[in-house]
Amino acid sequence: MDLLQISNLYVNFTTKAGVVRASDGVNLEIKQGESLCLVGESGCGKTIVALGIMRLLPQNAQISGKIWFKGKELLSLGKEEMRRIRGREIAMIFEQPATCLDPVFTVGDQIAEAMRVHERCSGKESKEKAIDLMEMVEIPSPQKRFKQYPHEFSGGMQQRAMIAIALSYNPSLLIADEPMTFLDVTIQAQIMELLKDLVSKFRTSLLLITHDLGVAAEMCDGVAVMYAGEIVEKGRVSEVFKYPKHPYTKALLGAISNDGLKPIKGSVPELTSLPSGCKFHPRCPLVRDVCREARPEMKNGVRCHLWEKS
């Protein structure tokens, strides 16, 4: 059974420049223990989907669709019910741990706070558990580090602390939004190993959001490629990256590869004035007349007219 099932998620924002269609009918399923990666360039709506699941979208967002999680429909839950799910059942880590940690409390306090809130345990107990958690995420000398403030932590260590907080209540689903993007490659490799180990150890499902196809390929079983608010291709990582079907996926994989530079012409469309038909058609090398007119349906894991016939 699917742990999370998103069906027809639409998220619009009304702005002075027009209606921004940030998520334009997204369908997605994550099974228990599966790791799925949402890849795409900036502004394609991947973070909107994550925030939609967490019900953290801004007030002015117009949301429609259904998000099923363990038999509950998240979008229709009351505030209190959602609070019980958020952080316990579904946890999230973000791109910049420095902006998520409170600079005036020690890192240890903030990890212990998560324990106190969720488990209602005493101060001393929560401190012990926090130190265990810090050990789990391989923060060296946790006793000493417990009393330090976020600015005394390096970026990699801050992200470890965030992972400790996120996994403190053993959630069923962890959403990681570009968790390694701003880290250096050697540190990124460390965090990748750590996340992979912990996710398989606790059998947590993972929704990883990234623009880095390499990270996606190494971390996840499944992948969904997003472009301009919709999913254009999804499937197993091993298949999609080896035999990409959608021209956009192909172009992304080939843009900077060992075979040289193959730039994709044009740029990502404005979400206020999306192209008609297939949203990728103005940039697609294989464009045909039908692509300009009709929006392709998702069939056999790809949203492309050229694949509908075969």
Binding site: M157, D184, A189, L213, I256
Partner: protein, 316 residues
């Protein structure tokens, strides 16, 4: 091989910090390299390794603590007023086009500003601006707009156009594509290559991205804590890196190709502070192959054959 364009010898830049107890951040600690005409030489390394400081010292945008920098044989650190004229020939492209374009100027003004500053305008501003826009594949309707009205890719193109306005012979490109999306990144790098083919500039290309460096540069230098640990032909280094840090750096890059993923070296620990770098070889606390000698004696950057330089006691 073309003529020698840039020669840097034993460049050092220390930044002092602290009020009562002076300490020095050794951002760059003795690097030497040459760049020839039409060549791309890349500096790769992680944040804080000093690669940007090398770039800025080479243009004398930051005053080096010691060392020598020659542009076509002219010692630019000894120049005063003449440096201003020489600057026409040496330009820089910044990572952050947002931060390097004046938000109050229109694109037209931004494009002709270098000409105005050097007194070369002579009423040909508009023609020049149109020529530049065409070179970087932008449309003339952008001339009246302000930087915030452009996309990130377009802004970076304006940054590149400004750098080539004065027909420079040498350009420092400091992470020119790092803030852009993958599809736009490729466009930008392609553009830089095309311009180099057309005008034959030498590039000092600074990047943390190993994949990009591989495509852009003929020769690369890998930096760690202010020093070069390995210098050589791009192809040679990618086919057989000799320094353990280079090996780890290359293997750490996530890839979509499962067969390339097998020999991952995950380094322990983090980059030490450049205020008091480790004794001996600076990489020894994280090095998987460190021996006793590494913590005592600093290895020299030595030629292991045909210009492949490595700073490691055990490089074969």
């Amino acid at each position: 091989m073309g003529e020698k364009l840039i020669e840097v010898k034993n460049l050092k830049k220390y930044f002092s910090s602290g009020i009562f107890r002076k300490s020095y951040v050794k951002a760059v600690d003795g690097v030497s390299f040459e760049i020839r005409k039409g060549e791309t030489f890349a500096l790769v390394g992680e944040s804080g390794c000093g690669k940007s400081t090398v770039g800025r010292c080479t243009l004398r945008l930051v005053e080096p603590t010691s060392g020598e920098v020659y542009f076509k044989g002219i010692d630019i650190l000894g120049l005063n007023r003449e440096l201003r004229d020489l600057r026409r020939k040496m330009q820089i492209i910044f990572q952050d086009a947002d931060g390097s374009l004046n938000p109050r100027m229109r694109i037209l003004e931004l494009l002709v500003e270098p000409l105005r500053v050097h007194g070369l305008l002579n009423g040909r501003g508009m023609a020049e601006a149109l020529r530049l826009l065409e070179l970087v594949n932008l449309t003339p309707d952008l001339l009246g707009r302000y930087p915030h009205e452009l996309s990130g890719g377009q802004r970076q193109r304006v940054g590149i156009a400004r750098a080539i306005t004065l027909n420079p012979e040498f350009i420092v490109a400091d992470e020119p594509a790092a803030s852009l999306d993958l599809s736009v990144q490729a466009q930008m790098l392609d553009l830089m290559k095309r311009l180099q083919g057309e005008f034959g500039m030498g590039y000092l290309f600074i990047s943390h991205n190993v994949n990009i460096v591989r495509l852009m540069a003929e020769r690369i230098a890998v930096m760690y804590l202010g020093k070069f640990v390995e210098v050589g032909d791009t192809r040679k280094i990618f086919n057989g890196a000799a320094h353990p840090y280079t090996q780890a750096l290359l293997s750490a890059v996530p890839t979509t190709d499962p067969s390339a993923r097998q020999n991952r070296i995950v380094l322990e620990g983090e980059i030490p502070s450049p205020i008091n770098p480790p004794s001996g070889c600076r990489f020894h606390p994280r090095c998987p192959e460190a021996k006793a000698v590494c913590s005592e004696v600093e290895p020299a950057l030595q030629d292991t054959g045909s210009g492949h330089l490595v700073a490691c006691h055990f490089a074969s």
